[in-house]
């Protein structure tokens, strides 16, 4: 099958999974009033992180034309940055998880996602792939994604330990 059909198939599949998960309340948890109030600030911080990143990228690429080649990579990196900033804000302010959600279950998920995304770039490092192939083969995106989930894992563990200490007090 043509790659475009596969792409369309996966886009539709993702939309279907999102709709079903929202309908059966997997993604949409019940957040309390403090969490809902902080969500706005978290999204805003993510949005401004993306904005600052793109302003810096555009400014840098105006002076250094070689950066134009990495436009797609910059878009992905900007999105990752925004997601990371917002998610870290939510995790550090205890607003990432709804009232009845258990962070431990999500910790396993973030570890798995970090490992799966870090395996291909690490393999490339071991095989000694040159830097151009590394970037053009989208291994850098895997690396960024892996690092992002690794940071989430670290933040989750820190918060879980802190939360346990607080609850014992």
């Amino acid at each position: 099958m043509d790659m475009a059909y596969w792409f369309l198939f996966f886009v539709l599949l993702t939309i279907a999974i999102l709709i079903i998960s929202i309908k059966i309340k997997i993604c949409r948890g019940d957040y309390d009033e403090r969490q809902e109030a902080l969500h706005g600030k978290g999204y805003k911080s993510g949005f401004f992180a993306i904005l600052v990143f793109f302003v810096l990228y555009i400014s840098a690429s105006a002076g250094y034309e070689k950066l134009h080649e990495y436009g797609f990579l910059a878009i992905v990196a900007g999105i990752f940055l925004g997601c990371s900033v917002a998610s870290l804000y939510f995790i550090m302010h205890d607003t990432f998880f709804a009232v009845k959600q258990k962070p431990a279950a999500y910790l396993i998920l973030t570890v798995i996602l970090a490992v799966f995304n870090l395996i291909p770039p690490v393999e490339d490092f071991i095989r000694g792939v040159n830097s151009y192939d590394f970037i053009s083969g989208h291994r850098l995106i895997s690396l960024l994604c892996g690092v992002m989930f690794l940071v989430f894992t670290g933040a989750l563990i820190t918060k879980m330990l802190g939360s346990r200490r607080e609850a014992e007090e």
């Binding site: 309390d32 403090r34 969490q35 205890d94 939360s163 607080e166 609850a167």
Partner: protein
């Protein structure tokens, strides 16, 4: 400013932060933030906490 009256009322009923949070339908961290004075709850949450602890709003939240 820390809300020590809420903390002592909760302790007097032998409730943990988690148990009080479940009674009023919020996260444990929200109860912790209220006790530490890091979050000002809405009047609805104040009423729910006061009812759960068998106290009046004045006893728990009035300065």
């Amino acid at each position: 400013m820390k809300n020590l009256r809420l903390k002592s009322a909760r302790a007097a009923m032998d409730l943990s932060q988690q148990q009080l949070a479940e009674l009023v339908g919020v996260s444990r961290q929200t109860i912790n933030a209220i006790e530490k004075g890091n979050y000002n709850p809405t009047i609805n949450l104040c009423i729910a906490i006061a009812k759960a602890l068998g106290k009046t709003l004045d006893e728990l939240f009035w300065e």
